[in-house]
């Protein structure tokens, strides 16, 4: 079993394998199942992701009314041909948003690694597939590669917003996605690790401050930016840029930052955006109480 990113990369490169190979082999060993069974389970998860994106792109609205419809707006904007940051990037962003809008509407999603951050991995996958034309198996592999990096973060740091802030959720998801994009684009295992490190470095310190405690504001837009961050970091790693701080040390830094983060900024809806005048007003409106009573 690999315990950190360095071991994961070493395992892959010493045997001339991909990160996804190592993750699949480990899963087979740990759960005592065949490779076919493990791949089939991941394909079911892939299907859930495809259905969620499709539903989100058709337009959804959450029960609170706070989120929904932004994925549709972005797709319409892309279609005008006027996008500044590029169609592929915005496609990833819109699909990340689509997934998270479905999640906010209590729809069915696949947590990657969590529900609040479920948009980033599928969003980027379903965008880059249009450029890279992967086979069905390569799409499934994308999820194993993301899973391998998420596995290290979950065991060595945290993937819980209540424990480590949004950096542990959308931060982890973005790093996972960046690494998987690199593998799908033909990069090396080391480049996957560099992409993860570059992404996570730019998510450090991100707090979890959901308005009214709902996984909507700012979660949906954080998934959008998480997808964008992953795409850019993947390109940087593929260009040969490396992170001066090794990936495992970035993960460790994320963990320590999470531990010192005030409780008000760890999924309690007590600080940050949740505590802004508008955040409080929305909360009062949704739950039907007066603001004077709350304070």
């Amino acid at each position: 079993m690999f315990r950190n990113v360095a071991e994961l990369v070493e395992l892959a490169e010493s045997q001339n394998k991909k990160i996804s190979d190592i993750m699949i082999e480990q899963e087979v060993k740990v759960t005592n199942r065949t490779k076919e069974e493990v791949l089939a389970q991941m394909e079911r998860n892939l299907k859930v992701m495809e259905e969620a994106v499709e539903r989100g792109l058709a337009g959804v609205k959450s029960h609170s009314g706070l989120t929904g419809g932004d994925a549709v707006l972005l797709q319409k904007y892309i279609a005008t041909g006027k996008s500044l940051s590029g169609d592929l990037l915005l496609d990833a962003v819109s699909k990340a948003v689509a997934t998270n809008e479905v999640n906010a509407a209590m729809g069915t999603i696949c947590a990657t690694p969590t529900a609040g951050s479920a948009g980033v991995v599928p969003g980027t996958l379903f965008a880059v597939q249009n450029k890279l034309n992967p086979s069905r198996e390569e799409k499934i592999r994308f999820l194993f590669t993301s899973g391998a990096f998420g596995f290290v973060v979950a065991n060595n740091a945290s993937i819980s917003g209540a424990a480590g802030g949004c950096q542990a959720e959308v931060g982890s998801a973005s790093g996972m996605a960046a690494a998987a994009i690199v593998e799908m684009a033909g990069g090396t295992p080391s480049q996957c690790a560099e992409a993860m490190a570059i992404t996570l470095k730019n998510m450090l310190g991100l707090v979890c401050d959901p308005v009214a405690g709902l996984v909507e504001v700012p979660c949906v837009k954080r998934n959008a930016m998480g997808a964008a961050n992953a795409m850019v970091a993947a390109d940087m790693a593929l260009a040969g840029i490396t992170s001066r701080i090794p990936c495992d040390e970035v993960i460790d830094a994320m963990y320590k930052i999470g531990q010192t983060m005030p409780v008000a900024l760890r999924e309690t809806a007590m600080g940050g955006l949740a505590a802004t005048p508008t955040g409080r007003e929305l909360e009062a409106k949704i739950f039907g109480f007066s603001l004077d009573k709350k304070s």
Binding site: M1, M23, Q26, E27, V30, T31, N32, Q41, M42, R44, N45, V48, S64, V102, N103, A104, A105, M106, G107, T108, I109, C110, A111, T112, P113, T114, A115, G116, A118, V121, L143, F144, S146, G147, A148, G150, F151, A154, N155, S158, I159, S160, G161, A162, A163, A168, M176, P210, A212, G213, L214, V215, E216, V263, R266, E267, T268, A269, M270, F287
Partner: protein, 220 residues
């Protein structure tokens, strides 16, 4: 390592919006249901920390109620769990607690019927993964690094031997075993951490033992 499978990370498939506060909560509820062994007539759910502050927004309450009715994390009936519980005449009480707990996502579930009661404390550690930390006042000292099973049994001679014999016959090595009881001759509890995953057929064999009341896998 607390997370052992890639499907702990890419998964679970679930009803939104939160893996820790919705899917994890549903799993804590389902664990309580499995340990109780039947549908309860009433349940009192106490939320602590982040659970207490945000359960309404995350659907933590409906998820845990759904779990108590044996729903999986991806069961769409979770959304209507309160109405379904009402139709089934299960009395539900939700409490928001102020007390500080070790983990921010903590829930205590008391449930029961005319034949008995049970109390369980669970924590949701992220990505839908949960740990049971307390059962009927017994603190469960699990490392979380190995598969674990929980055996509720009668406190009498031979119970520990019978359980370990079944595990040995199935080539399952016991890493650690914790035995505790409420009172001499009353209900007792074995928390067993093992080295190999425990298959359902082994659980069934344990359930057949005359001394054993209930067996549940609490960690994979």
């Amino acid at each position: 390592m607390k997370y052992k499978s890639v499907f702990d990370i890419i998964g679970p498939v679930m009803i939104g919006p939160s893996s820790s506060h919705t899917a994890g909560a549903a799993r804590i509820g389902k664990m309580a249901r499995e340990l109780f062994g039947r549908e309860p007539e009433w349940a009192t759910i106490s939320f602590y920390g982040s659970f207490a502050k945000t359960y309404k927004g995350h659907g933590t309450d409906v998820a845990i109620i759904g779990g108590i009715m044996d729903f999986e994390t991806d069961d769409e009936r979770i959304i209507q769990a309160r109405e379904i519980a009402r139709e089934k005449r299960i009395r539900i009480k939700i409490r928001e607690e102020e007390a500080l707990t070790d983990h921010p996502n903590t829930a205590r579930i008391r449930l029961g019927d005319q034949n008995g009661e049970m109390e369980l404390v669970g924590i949701s550690i992220g990505g839908g993964k949960i740990e049971i930390t307390e059962l009927n006042g017994f603190a469960l000292r699990l490392t979380g690094h190995h598969p674990a099973i929980l055996v509720v049994h009668e406190d009498r001679f031979g119970a520990v031997a019978a359980v370990s014999k079944v595990l040995a016959e199935n080539k399952i090595n016991i890493g650690s075993m914790d035995v505790s009881r409420q009172d001499v001759g009353k209900m007792a509890l074995m928390t067993i951490e093992v080295d190999e995953p425990v298959e359902d057929i082994v659980l069934e064999k344990l359930k057949m033992l005359p001394e054993v009341t209930q067996v549940t896998k609490i960690a994979d």
